[in-house]
């Protein structure tokens, strides 16, 4: 091993398969083969950001380990990213670095969440991301490798190692990759990047510590209430109801029913907040009721829709992110629960930097 311009390098034989094996031997992979991070590819990746390679974009709050642009680029190469994907990887970590996201806790926990990365705005289409059929994969290089780069950085840079510093009880398939684009085509609601207050034309990345993936099937409902009641039921299941946030990706068929009836995002959020609830008695029956949580939801400053005697999911309707994604055919939406411990991680977003080109 040697050091070149303060970045460590490893000399390996000029044999690609041997280099892949070398990466395995070093413990640098997520279990799948990686692209060996050869110097030229890393430099090409770094060229997608005009800041110095030693610029720190995130810091681990407990260990003090830094994520530099250089280390991010190395891992992005290993994940299979093209240079044009790099701004999304960088923006994801700039968002995850915000303290309320708490990437240490959400990665280390037995709860087993994975950072869901949602790319919103024109950038997604520019780099060929998939917001359509097979939204959550497989099949699209940008979606797959941006999400994978996120995982490899958590592993290699921040040393969140399965079984050692990542103590997830059962893991999560999203820990390989969990990245989607918001569907703009045919979306009747403002895009996330617009609601987040970014200037027109600026794309964004939203990160959310997602506890899994729950398919919500409804092919028979034809009113907003019927569709959203199915979603609310999934959101309130005993296995995952907490004070935590929620992400709901409505299939285009479902969105057509909801928005086609004139419902706005805000109305849908309010409906889901009202309906995604369990009675106090029910929560007690399964051993999940806590006074402290009930008081948080119903005490001073409680939202007007928080019904006495019930535990709702989240604290306000704004805790529910709803947008559209997936293929045109099929009444299959999804709900993604938050990391199991409620409000230990709050979703964050960051702009995809226009200067990174």
């Amino acid at each position: 091993m040697s050091t070149t311009a303060s970045f460590r390098t490893h000399e390996v034989p000029d044999d690609l398969l041997a280099a892949i094996d070398y990466c395995y031997d070093q413990g640098w992979t997520d279990g799948l083969p990686v692209v060996p991070p050869v110097v030229d590819r890393v430099k090409a990746m770094l060229a997608a950001d005009n800041r110095p390679p030693d610029t720190v974009i995130a810091k681990h709050p407990a260990t003090g380990l830094d994520l530099s642009l250089h280390a991010a680029a190395v891992n992005a190469v290993m994940a299979g990213c093209l240079p044009e994907y790099f701004p999304a990887v960088v923006a994801a970590f700039e968002a995850m670095d915000k303290p309320d996201f708490n990437f240490h806790g959400s990665t280390a926990s037995t709860g087993g969440s994975a950072p869901l990365v949602i790319v919103s705005g024109p950038y997604a289409e520019q780099i060929g991301m998939n917001a359509d059929v097979n939204l959550f994969g497989p099949g699209n290089r940008a979606n797959g490798t941006i999400g994978r780069a996120t995982r490899l950085i958590l592993r290699n840079v921040f040393q969140m190692l399965p079984g050692i510093s990542d103590k997830s009880t059962q893991g999560n398939p999203g820990k390989y990759s969990f990245c989607i684009a918001e569907r703009a085509r045919g979306n009747p609601w403002p895009l996330l990047c617009e609601t987040q207050g970014y200037p027109k034309g600026t794309s964004s990345v939203t990160v959310y510590a997602g506890g899994g993936f729950c398919n919500v099937e409804n092919h028979g409902g034809n009113t907003p209430e019927q569709i959203l009641a199915s979603v609310a039921d999934a959101m309130a299941n005993y296995g995952c109801i907490t004070l935590g946030q929620a992400v709901v990706i409505l299939a285009p068929e479902h969105m057509q029913i909801v928005a086609g009836a004139g419902w706005t995002r805000e109305r849908a959020q309010a409906y889901l907040f009202s309906e995604a609830k369990r009675s106090v008695e029910g929560m007690k029956a399964v051993g999940k009721y806590r006074d402290r949580e009930y008081d948080t939801q119903h005490g001073e400053g409680a939202h007007a829709l928080a019904e006495k005697g019930f535990m709702h999911r989240g604290l306000t309707p704004d805790d529910i992110l709803i947008t559209m994604g997936g293929g045109d055919a099929g009444g299959h939406s999804c709900f993604i629960p938050s990391w199991s411990r409620g409000r230990g991680s709050i979703m964050q977003h960051s702009a995809i930097r226009a200067s990174q080109k």
């Binding site: 303060s6 260990t63 830094d66 806790g105 230990g344």
Partner: protein, 92 residues
């Protein structure tokens, strides 16, 4: 073929253990609970053993709002001024 290392280049921080206490008899105890179910109960039970067997006194109960985030530095600074040693741990 030259590969870049994917690891952080941050220099390792030197972590040093606090010196061991010569005796814990009669010392002041702080409790830092993390908000998890049963954490406070478990730590109070542990503290009661120190009170019973070593004549310690419980001075402070500090809480973390977020179980999985490091304790805020101002919490630690304040507690350090009030106690001789601190008990913390998980509850679930």
């Amino acid at each position: 073929m030259q590969l870049y290392s994917p690891l952080s280049t941050t220099p390792k921080r030197k972590a040093v253990r606090a010196p061991a206490l010569g005796s814990i008899d009669g010392l002041r105890i702080g409790i830092l609970e993390n908000g998890k179910l049963n954490a406070e109960e478990m730590l109070n039970e542990v503290a009661a053993l120190f009170v019973q067997h070593h004549g310690c006194t419980v001075r402070t109960l500090a809480s973390k709002k977020n179980a999985s985030a490091p304790a805020p530095s101002n919490t630690l600074v304040q507690v350090a001024q009030e106690v001789d040693f601190l008990i913390t741990g998980l509850g679930d």
